[in-house]
Symmetry: C2
Subunit: 212 residues, 2 copies
Amino acid sequence: MIPTATLGRLVTYLRVVAELETEGVLTTSSEAIAGRAHATAFQVRKDLAYCGRLGTRGSGYQVAPLARELRRALGLTRVWHVAIMGVGRLGQALADYPNFDRYDFALRAAYDADPAKVGSTVGPLVVEGLDDLAASVARHALDMAFLTVPAAAAQGAADALVAAGIRGILNFAPTVIEVPAHIRVESVDFLAGLTRLTYYVGNPPAEHDAPS
Amino acid sequence: MIPTATLGRLVTYLRVVAELETEGVLTTSSEAIAGRAHATAFQVRKDLAYCGRLGTRGSGYQVAPLARELRRALGLTRVWHVAIMGVGRLGQALADYPNFDRYDFALRAAYDADPAKVGSTVGPLVVEGLDDLAASVARHALDMAFLTVPAAAAQGAADALVAAGIRGILNFAPTVIEVPAHIRVESVDFLAGLTRLTYYVGNPPAEHDAPS
């Protein structure tokens, strides 16, 4: 398994390399990737070692094969089907998000417990209710769901998703949810991001700590 | 400096301990915190060592002093003033977020470049334009901003915030932004979270890897 911290950096490198590809760049270097990813060239080379043998000392990386290997290492070799559970403002913002397909994610369904929202349109989707969630999850061949319900509703909604056959949850609700061991949860916790920020803003690095 | 990975876990422990406090629990244990935080008791004890001497072997932790020490370690000893830059759906969702004050964050201002949005109300705030951003940042005594503009507008908006005196940016735009060395940026990148999820869903742990 790739360590979690490395995984996070590989995702960033893929974004950088995808940008380079879009810009028509054919070859790149660990220095160039590091510059855009706010990392060091040493770190980039070390992390990319998880993607197999890539690049030649002195001649850098071919952009297209590097993008391919990063996608392979990250499991982005097929289209993953994603649903939105909870069509509040955050769920709506996610439905409007333009870049899913660039990363081989397909937004396939949106659910809400509120009957008033069922049948309404959000982004490219028609909101469905929760009455026959398992059948809907199977019909859309869903792999994963964004959990964008209020914190108090998060555990119940997660339980419903798991019972319906979802295998991964990206939890936006500000609470820890419990799931069976075979289900994976990742959290998008902006209060945590904000708290990291207060820590760093309150503890600016000394001159000799500054990254080179 | 506390390592970034530890910092993220301390934020989770603070959330757990704050929940315990709300529930009226007076004492707790590394095992109880670990259970709610999805960590191991060993990890919890090791991480909490960054918060100074807390707890006694065999008798656990007093909840209130632990919450206080966690807040102190994370720099949450005063109210931080936060602004929203970009009042699209995501910005609006953040303005409606109920829990800021529990973590000593005060949402003080919202900005948008669109004149049609200026003067409208979002959550508790009236949207301001960018014409005199520095004066507004000073008036609201802003420390940090949520950057919730489209990716193409992110660098320009970040430059404007930095020029106006903001010291930290929580970047929700799916792009890397460049800032001077004394400014801190943390990213809330849900595509990264989604990609971590595909990796883990695509590589389920073997039985002998399962956490105990």
